[in-house]
């Protein structure tokens, strides 16, 4: 209710902007439906893009810590355990460093449905993985090695607690023996993207639980500091044995990206469909269904407004709706993803992993992504409103008299 009007209270601005705000606030009921649908679409769209860019960022960060090369033994096209002696000729190659034999594998529980990643670590040696390195630095090695102990990821810890093993677990080795191992420590949340379902054991213990021979390793990791040498070194290593395969960090990165791009792509297509539908509805509404719009425009024209004046008013009205929906939608999405941790949506993105993953989504604001959201949404929206308005405006406004 306007108890005071512009007649006694001066408004500092042009009459046009005065009228624009009037139209907007006094007719907010007319706009509320459009704003709500816009908000929902923009919120979901930005949430998905926030999640995927955050995950991509985390993958990049994680991969940065991975070794450059992994050398595997191949049998029948599948990876099998490699002989530990393969490590010796690798040490001779010029231009590589940090050569480490790695021991890891999956350990299946009860019904053989749930599995954890067992990682064997030589605590005296350099670590192939930078995350492992920092975990080791924070562990009191003396007491850890004094008995059969393990470090477990958060997901493992939760799983074991649910199955009534809060302090230890007895592994069933492939030979049929039970091996009781104590939980020494739970790994920090920050390492969840790679360590959520991980169990870290001393090398010998890991080999025993995984049923590997003493002189076997899972694979061999190494770094090649000079990027230009990568192809060259890969060729050299491959030439050592005919059943040897070299996997580079690029290959792993590509595999990850394919997975998340696929999920993100499915969402994007859904959003495009949603936006197109929405725009068609808008177009309909302004083109035909909304006869009051027709009357409104006709009246303004009868009162001396030109087509340009009408378009200007509708353009600014639409821009305000677009900008408000965009800002509110994006801010809500940011809050939902990075403060609340994207409940529900995260499950869809990280689904397939067999354990509850409390991965922390690192806030990443990609302005390229934001501006493409804006364009994908704003351009068709503005067109869907202005084209019918323009069509109505150019016809003679004789309806105004009726």
């Amino acid at each position: 209710m306007s108890s005071k009007s512009f007649l006694d209270k001066p408004f500092f601005g042009s009459p046009f902007f005065f009228f624009l705000t009037l139209e907007f606030f006094k007719e907010r009921k007319k706009h509320i439906g459009v704003v709500v649908i816009s908000l929902v679409i923009l919120f979901l769209l930005s949430s998905v893009l926030f999640i995927s860019s955050s995950i991509r960022y985390s993958i990049e960060q994680t991969l940065d810590k991975e070794p450059d090369f992994v050398v595997q033994k191949i049998q029948g096209g599948e990876r099998v355990n490699a002989p530990a002696e393969w490590i010796d000729p690798l040490l001779e190659i010029y231009g590589i460093n940090k050569v480490t034999a790695r021991v890891y594998g999956r350990y299946f529980f009860k019904a053989k449905r749930d599995s954890f990643l067992i990682v064997g670590v030589d605590f005296m040696d350099e670590q192939s993985h930078k995350t492992l390195e920092s975990i080791m630095d924070e562990t009191d090695l003396k007491s850890f090695l004094s008995s059969d102990n393990m470090l477990v990821g958060e997901g493992v810890s939760i799983y074991l607690k649910e199955h009534f093993y809060p302090n230890h677990y007895s592994f069933l080795t492939p030979k049929g023996d039970f091996k009781k191992i104590n939980i020494f420590k739970v790994l920090p949340k920050e390492s969840n993207l790679i360590a959520n379902d991980m169990i870290i054991l001393p090398m010998d213990l890991a080999k025993e639980v995984l049923g590997m021979g003493e002189d076997e390793v899972t694979d061999i990791a190494l770094n090649v500091p000079n990027d230009d040498e990568w192809d060259n070194v890969a060729d050299k290593i491959s030439a050592f044995y005919y059943d040897l395969r070299v996997v580079t960090k690029h290959d792993i990165k590509k595999a990850y990206e394919n997975l998340y791009n696929y999920k993100g792509g499915v969402f994007l297509i859904l959003f495009l469909i949603a936006i197109v539908t929405f725009v068609l509805i808008l177009y309909q509404r302004y083109a035909m269904v909304y006869s009051s719009e027709r009357r409104h425009i006709g009246l303004l024209r009868a009162l001396g407004w030109s087509i340009r004046d009408v378009l200007k008013l509708k353009f600014f009205e639409t821009i305000i709706i677009v900008i408000i929906s965009f800002i509110v939608g994006v801010v809500l999405a940011y809050f939902y993803v990075f403060v609340l941790g994207a409940p529900l949506l995260k499950e869809i993105f990280l689904g397939g992993a067999n354990m509850k993953n409390s991965l922390v989504l690192v806030p990443v604001l990609d302005f390229g992504v934001l501006s493409s959201i804006f364009l994908i949404y704003a351009v068709p929206f503005i067109a869907a409103v202005l084209i019918p308005v323009w069509k109505i405006s150019v016809t003679d406004p004789k309806e105004a008299m009726l």
Binding site: S5, F6, L299, D396
Partner: protein, 231 residues
């Protein structure tokens, strides 16, 4: 001021064509008050629309101040309407959610005036139309007579030389109709050219100089009568 020669208007719907205005010839002088008098369906609204540049004639000539407005591009017709024509619609056509004064300012928005000048003009129009006391009331909550006066204020605000009224008393009781005619007299005394389309017999005996133009079936009936005198 307004000069109409052999003007025709057809409406086509499908194969049939309605001949709504037939060979209209009409001359309205500056400061004159002309009453287009005829029953519903005789073509009065259509004729007013064409004079306002809201509709275009199918054939014939329409000159306003010597200019053929039907042939102008939109920007010029709009400028012409904004400067010269004030319209009082049959159904008032107010924006119900806006206040009286906000409705009255609408014709001035595309103008170059600043907010202070707009406020001054709106105030003056509201005074002339005798509705200043309801300036802040939403139009939707005004009575019929009050709405009519807001519509008058809006038609006056851009200081047009021509005022077109379509059935101005159709939605008013007798009391308010008489009040309207009083305001019309003021406008006439201000020198405005006034054209009223109506079927209301109240306009047959106005207390000020006016000319009655009877319309029937889309034609102007030959015999025109001059009524009243300038007091």
């Amino acid at each position: 001021m307004i000069s109409i020669e052999n003007l025709n208007r057809y409406f086509k719907s499908g194969d049939t064509s309605f001949h709504v205005l037939k060979d209209i010839n009409l001359e309205v002088l500056e400061g004159e008050c002309v009453v287009l008098r005829g029953v519903s369906g005789s073509g009065k609204t259509t004729l007013l629309s064409i004079m306002a540049g809201l509709d275009r004639p199918s054939s014939g000539k329409l000159l306003v101040d010597g200019e053929s407005i039907a042939k102008l591009p939109d920007l010029h017709i709009s400028a012409f309407r904004a400067k010269k024509i004030g319209i009082i619609f049959q159904h008032f056509n107010l924006l119900e959610h806006l206040s009286a004064s906000e409705n009255v300012m609408i014709p001035l928005i595309p103008s170059e005036l600043n907010m202070t000048e707009v406020a001054q003009r709106v105030k003056r129009s509201l005074e002339i139309a005798n509705i200043s006391h309801k300036a802040t009331r939403p139009a939707g909550r005004l009575s019929g007579g009050e709405k009519q006066r807001v519509a008058i204020a809006r038609a006056l605000v851009a200081d047009p030389s021509v005022i077109l009224c379509d059935e101005p008393t159709a939605n008013l009781d007798r009391d308010n109709s008489l009040k309207f005619i009083d305001i019309l007299k003021d406008l006439h005394n201000m020198g405005k050219t006034i054209i009223v389309a109506t079927h209301d017999p109240l306009f047959d005996n106005l207390s000020f100089a006016s000319r009655i133009v009877p319309m029937q079936d889309g034609s102007i009936v030959s015999k025109e009568q001059g009524v009243g005198s300038s007091e």
